[in-house]
């Protein structure tokens, strides 16, 4: 065995550093799912009747739905009765300030590098922190409120802005959309809500940090972001979970609505626990994300860096309804050890002169399986629609796989659609070349992978691009050989 292989293997076995568990006194309901559980979640959150009704409709529909199996990933059947659908750190009363937050929970976010004291945060980033089933803190709310921006937990939004929630909830991803969207609609516990009023440019990055802590618990959050006419917002989500031998389910729904001339940039740095090197444990990340470019010249950009999870399965898409609207998708997905990913996007062109760009970078190492699946649909009225897709795969080692499934449906002859794809292998030769110039194996791998992902990283907000690059190098270390 060559020296470089050994070094890489040592690095590969480095531990997932977010894998710790926090000991908190939690309000956890028993495992299992039935109508009473749905009612209980709704009651715990003090929800209005219309929302409970919506949940119940979703639940009843879900019962009739079949779990999809067309995706290119393999996993043992999920026992939906063996999951805890609600777990929240106990609190004595409604929090008035951070000082009343469970110190353990607060310490958890500190340890994750997400301090919730406003003065300690990156200047210009507001954070909503979600711990298991509930949002525990939202920073900079007052400052944002001065501009009329609403940034709060979903539960609070239901109480304080029911008219907005009612208007937009399920408007992009209806509860009937798919099996996991229906499940989420029935049992979702919290998430973030953002509303940017007309003509307002959100002055800071908004961010939600999701943390799964409790055992056997699924996380089902919903995020809803609405940018009114001419508004602009850049939003980022990050996620981690403890290391456990059992798989945990994360089935989230994200809905974005951009009105005339509005822009939403949505970035994800996903670092859920990926399972150990033998494939034991890890998060099933089954998520439905969709943005609606409702208005003219609106724009939605999805940027995702998916390094974690045992299985990642999601297709953040854009419905380009408004004329001249723009959808973009930039993705880096890595699968190392036994991780699997089936991810990509859907660009649905409805309006005239709509444009979409897809840049997908898949990196497979170890026994990882990485699939790009993307749909570009040009409707019959989408005159002069344009799409450019680029899907690149990189293989590290010879036990992993890369797969590409592009779907094109074009019903308007004026459309222009381009698709480019490539597969490359990070070879011993590239690494040797770097080493011959004095660059260590570790630095060489990082350099080669970052080079490969450059087009995606530059779409991330500044503060997080560096973080994403580091994360990627950690998740791939030890993968060459």
């Amino acid at each position: 065995m060559s020296t470089s292989t050994e070094t890489i293997e040592q690095l590969a076995n480095r531990e997932y550093k977010y894998g710790f568990v926090t000991d908190v006194d939690a309000d956890t309901i028993p495992k299992g799912l039935n109508e009473d559980v749905v009612r209980l979640i709704s009651e715990k959150k003090g929800e209005p009747a219309w929302l409970l009704e919506w949940r119940l409709k979703a639940y009843r529909l879900w019962l009739t739905m079949k779990e999809p199996n067309w995706q290119n990933v393999k996993y043992d059947p999920i026992n939906y009765q063996d999951i805890v659908y609600y777990s929240a750190p106990k609190k004595k009363k409604v929090l008035n300030s951070l000082d009343e937050m469970d110190p353990e929970v607060r310490a958890t976010f500190d340890k994750l590098g997400i301090p919730l004291e406003e003065q300690k945060l990156f200047a210009g980033v507001a954070v909503d922190a979600v711990f298991d089933s509930v949002s525990v803190a939202t920073t900079f709310r007052a400052k944002l409120a001065e501009k009329g921006i609403i940034f709060m937990s979903f539960s609070e939004a239901v109480r304080e802005h029911p008219e907005l929630v009612k208007k937009y909830l399920g408007s992009v991803v209806p509860y009937s959309d798919n099996f996991f969207a229906a499940l989420n609609s029935a049992v979702f516990s919290d998430g973030s809500f953002v509303y940017i009023p007309k003509g307002v440019r959100c002055p800071m990055e908004l961010s939600t940090y999701f943390r799964i802590n409790a055992k056997d618990t699924g996380q089902f959050e919903r995020t809803l972001i609405v940018a009114d006419e001419g508004a602009y917002v850049s939003y980022l989500e990050g996620c981690t979970a403890p290391m456990r031998d059992e798989h945990q389910l994360h089935a989230a729904v994200v809905e974005l609505v951009a009105h005339d001339d509005a822009t939403i940039k949505y970035s994800t740095i996903q670092n859920w626990y990926p399972g150990d090197k033998d494939g034991k444990g890890g998060i099933y990340n089954f998520v439905t994300k969709r943005g609606l470019c409702a208005g003219r010249s609106s724009k939605i950009t999805w940027t995702q860096v998916e390094t974690g999870s045992s299985i990642t399965w999601k297709y953040p898409g854009c419905i380009l309804q408004g004329d001249n609207s723009i959808g973009e998708f930039y993705s880096v997905a890595t699968t190392n050890n036994w991780q699997q990913a089936d991810t990509g996007t859907k660009m649905i062109h409805i309006g005239k002169n709509t444009r979409s760009t897809i840049v997908s970078k898949g990196i497979s190492a170890g026994h990882g399986q990485n699939t790009y699946r993307g749909l570009v649909r040009i409707g019959k009225n989408a005159k002069n629609a344009r799409n450019y897709s680029q899907c690149d795969s990189m293989l590290i080692g010879d036990k992993c796989g890369a797969h590409t499934f592009p779907y094109l449906e074009i019903k308007n002859t004026s459309a222009r659609v381009e698709h480019e794809a490539s597969t490359s292998k990070i070879g011993e030769d590239q690494i040797f070349y770097c080493r011959q110039r004095g660059i260590s194996t570790e630095d060489a791998v990082n350099m080669i992978v970052s080079g490969f992902c450059k087009e995606v990283f530059r779409e991330l907000p500044m503060e997080f691009a560096v973080e994403a690059q580091k994360l990627l190098s950690v998740s791939l270390e030890g993968s060459v050989g």
Binding site: S2, T3, S4, T5, S424, G427, E428, D429, Q430, F432, Y433, C434, R435, Q436, R437, G438, I439, S440, T441, D443, M447, I448, S450, G451, F452, C453, K454, E455
Partner: protein, 253 residues
Amino acid sequence: MLQIKNLQVKAEDKQILTGVDLHVKAGQVHAIMGPNGSGKSTLARVIAGHPEYVVTGGEVLYEGRDLLEMDPDERAREGVFMAFQYPVEIAGVNNAYFLKAAVNAKRKHLGQPELDAMEFMELIKEKSKLLEINQAMLQRAVNEGFSGGEKKRNEIFQMALLEPKLAVLDETDSGLDIDALKTVAAGVNTMRGPDRAIIVVTHYQRLLDYIVPDHVHVLSAGRIVKSGGKELALELEQKGYSWIETGAQPVGA
């Protein structure tokens, strides 16, 4: 500087070097010639530490230290440089960025302060004229979309930046037209000096018209069968390798 004693090397169970002896002193330029498949490139790559080869016998001392014990990147930082016959492309990695990482890896190893972007650009400016490296070549990805000549010039440019003690040029002349060959040779010649040893591996004598060696060795079937001065290269040019192979038979027998 470099002492190779009875070096035997295998690759994928095939014995390629069967017993190479070579002694290179600082200040010297040695040419290694030989027919295809004689093991020339293998010798170059073993000196650089390519992981594909297994050393089955003999030893290699570099400045009195066991070179074979050192990792490839450590060898590089200690001053061993190889110009690749086929320089490798690295997509998305800016050439200037790559060069800076290489230069700073070495400086760090030697306990020198790392160069910042400004200092590095100064260094590049000075060295790039010589090898006709233009701004575009620095901003493109490493070797990506480079012509054959550009790749080889880029190799020697790296050598000029890294200022190795021992440089091994592996068929640097292959794929070069005469103008490119002259440029590359001129770059190498400015690097000649009392503290530096250079080993030029080549199939053809042509390159040696421009980089004039102190010693010429002929490698055949995995060992050096004849050594001499620069006139040996000319003799080979006239008579071809078969002359040496036949002449070498008594030695090999």
